[in-house]
Amino acid sequence: MTLEAHVPSGPLAEKWQHYLDKAKLVNPANKRKHEILVVGTGLAGGSAAASLAELGYRVKVFCIQDSPRRAHSIAAQGGINAAKNYPNDGDTVWRLFYDTVKGGDYRAREANVHRLAAISNQIIDQCVAQGVPFAREYGGLLDNRSFGGAQVSRTFYARGQTGQQLLLGAYQALERQVQAGGVEMFPRREMLELVVVDGAARGVVVRNLVTGELERHAGDAVLLCTGGYGNVYFLSTNAKNSNVTAAWRCHRKGAFFANPCYTQIHPTCIPVSGKYQSKLTLMSESLRNDGRVWVPGAAGDARAPGDIPQTERDYYLERRYPGFGNLVPRDVASRAAKVICDDGFGVGATGQAVYLDFADAIGRLGESRVRERYGNLFEMYERITGENPYRAPMRIYPAVHYTMGGLWVDYRLMSSIPGLFVLGEANFSDHGANRLGASALMQGLADGYFIISSTLGDYIASGGGSGEVRASEAAFDEAANAAEDRIRRMLHVDGTKTVTEFHRELGQIMWDYVGMSRNREGLLHAIDAIADLRADYWENVSVPGRKDALNKNLEFAGRVADFLELGELMARDALHREESCGAHFREEYQTPEGEALRRDDAYAYVAAWESTEDAAEPVLHKEALSFEAVDLSTRSYK
């Protein structure tokens, strides 16, 4: 089978328009005959559900939390990109496109990224119209800042709470449709199976998390907007409920999983403080605009940071990358921190941290300006660590943050199962091997507000999802039975280890061998170790409580079971990709200076994995990436 991405013909900048011109439309009166199932209410799902209901579709929406407003998107801090060029600093759609493709180390589909950049401006217009309180200048116009190493200021932000404000905008639009009757909302539901009828996605089985009941919902198409899978590492900046289950269940039903090994490790997070640690907290990347990263010049120097004179400090990012300094992209900054700590220069009790120092900024701007810019972040830091970052430098370390991989989708956001569309972080599409800051919010909202309405309409108008399907059909029985079976099995193992203990062990394997730096031997070890752990899980896990009641431990048990399968696929993907690109760093493939060595001749493709009965034998499909508009160059931030 060859993967058909359905990229429209024509010059890059005209492809999306060309698509829109040709896309089939659903008659307005017919839209209400179509039921669309949307799983997830983050930026992607919330915006999609609201927009589709506005158009007249009947929409059912599911989410894990007690309210759609609590999706993980709420936690995004820094901002959202758009090519408005309000600051007059030379930004264009092309430049945003180019930066994103380059930032992704040329492993994204060119046409998708261009569309994303072209839509970016509409997103800002839409959000402002909804009343999203973006930061403004004194004259009343919108303010922009530079973010994540971009050389133009194109990031729109709402203090350090951009995700919150954008999500509340989408949530309110969604609730408006609930009131209008276009959306039926099902909170505290977890999708456990996809239902495929005659080869097309036609329904879902969800568990009512309060009663434990398995509910069946039939529809004409399913939109998976279930976020990323960073929690496979146990510790990450993701919310505790973020998981891969919905995507993984679809993968097991035939949806290809693309580039699972591309994991973004964010350079500025609060370091791990102990073994009971349950999650990690991001300190926004914007801090690198004014903070300087350093470690002591001598390994093992245990003096307090203030006692180390300037001449005995190593500002290693500024030293290695004089061009970009502290603003190098995330993958580069993270790896540099790891290398320097592995070499024994790390600071703090664990030696797994570097300093992020604001002393110069405070000297230059004054404490009150610094407080204005970063006050809430400094407070958050102090709340968690008990230390005051105005007095002493922050200690930071990289942490798992975002997953560029996800279910494979074509240009229309449709997976390899017809009728199953995948939006937001759950798909693989736009960020290649490394995502630039402030581009995930942009992608989620582009997918949900502006792309899916046309591509879903085209699918339906072309006959997709036609013919009535009832939730009593055999395919629903089969899916519900499979979900029921797994639940029963988990409850019956009655072993001695908790779900969290397994999860933590898996996370450690992933972090050590499938983390910031990978090699063949380590990956082979990880594949074995994960398979062993998975076998142990089904013999030794202890899941207390009942299935017909609220039982969060049971929910997590199911998610960890799926992570135990995903982890192995990530390791296999990382093993097969014998090059370094973006966040995927294979130690065997580096330049003499220790930078990533891409191998475009052999690996300029999307790796899309098809699941088989045997976890050890997934089938690789390749979507070749051809670049018409940009030259593949080596990223250099020197």
Binding site: S67, I74, Y276, M380
Partner: protein, 251 residues
């Protein structure tokens, strides 16, 4: 190394909405001051699972960064616990002493029925928003974002109200179980912006009516809500809501 501490918990256990609940004692001697409060509850649950006699304690949480509004319990008689401007997921054990006793209870209000243990049903909040907490613009068609300048002060003020995380602490702390701070915050957010003007009147009337229909009490200016709000939303939101309501009904 962080100091090890022993803490005595008294935690509300209730198996379902209609079951009788009670406070149950648990002592943990392996906590430390760097842990968050929810991590201490994680430790308790791990211990309970290993013992195998009792089910783990259910409590809502997700971001553990004080922004999603999932978490919310009453700790030592105060919604979200003793630290000002801090959601309970951001509370750390260093604020307690070795040997302390901590009472943990759910948010209590008629409009927030208990689901299980510390988990309550806050869906009434969603219905209040659905009644009118938005600007009715469909996707597409919005004018250029800079076509409508908004004075910085107005946006800043709107923002202060828009930071509400919908956790429900205001309701739990109010002697009347009023949802006025929550509802007022959304009304004030949108009333401060030009985008919110077109629907200003109907919004406040619908949202206030819905709030009452959900069984929340009236506000009688106790001010407890402002004191516990993890986002420090000012009680000025409630005054704004009242003014907007009067203006809509009589104006």
């Amino acid at each position: 190394m962080a100091q090890t501490m022993t803490i005595h918990f008294k935690i509300w256990r209730q198996s379902g909405p209609d079951a009788k609940g009670k406070l149950v004692d648990y002592t943990l001697d392996n906590l430390n001051e760097d842990m968050s409060f929810l991590e201490a509850l994680d430790v308790l649950n791990e211990t309970l699972i290993h013992k195998g006699e009792e089910d783990p304690v259910e409590f809502d949480n997700d971001c553990r960064e004080g922004i999603c509004g999932s978490c919310g319990v009453v700790v030592g008689g105060i919604a979200h616990g003793p630290m000002k401007a801090t959601a309970v997921c951001q509370l750390h054990m260093r604020h307690y002493k070795d040997g302390d006793t901590i009472v943990v209870e759910p948010f209590r209000a008629e409009a927030f029925p208990i689901v299980k243990d510390l988990v309550v049903d806050r869906s009434a909040f969603d219905r209040i928003i659905a009644a009118g907490g938005y600007v009715s613009v469909d996707t597409g068609g919005a004018p250029d974002a800079n076509s409508l300048p908004v004075p910085k002060n107005d946006v800043d003020e709107a923002f202060d109200f828009a930071t509400c995380i919908g956790c429900g602490a205001c309701v739990a702390s109010c002697p009347n179980a009023s949802a006025s701070l929550f509802t007022g915050a959304k009304i004030a957010h949108l009333a401060h912006l030009p985008q919110g003007q077109a629907e200003r009147k109907q919004r406040v009337v619908r949202m206030v009516d819905q709030m009452q229909a959900e069984g929340f009490g009236d506000c009688s200016n106790h001010g407890e809500c402002e004191a516990v709000c993890p986002k420090q939303i000012s009680i000025a939101a409630i005054a704004k809501m009242r003014r907007e309501y009067l203006r809509a009904v009589f104006g």
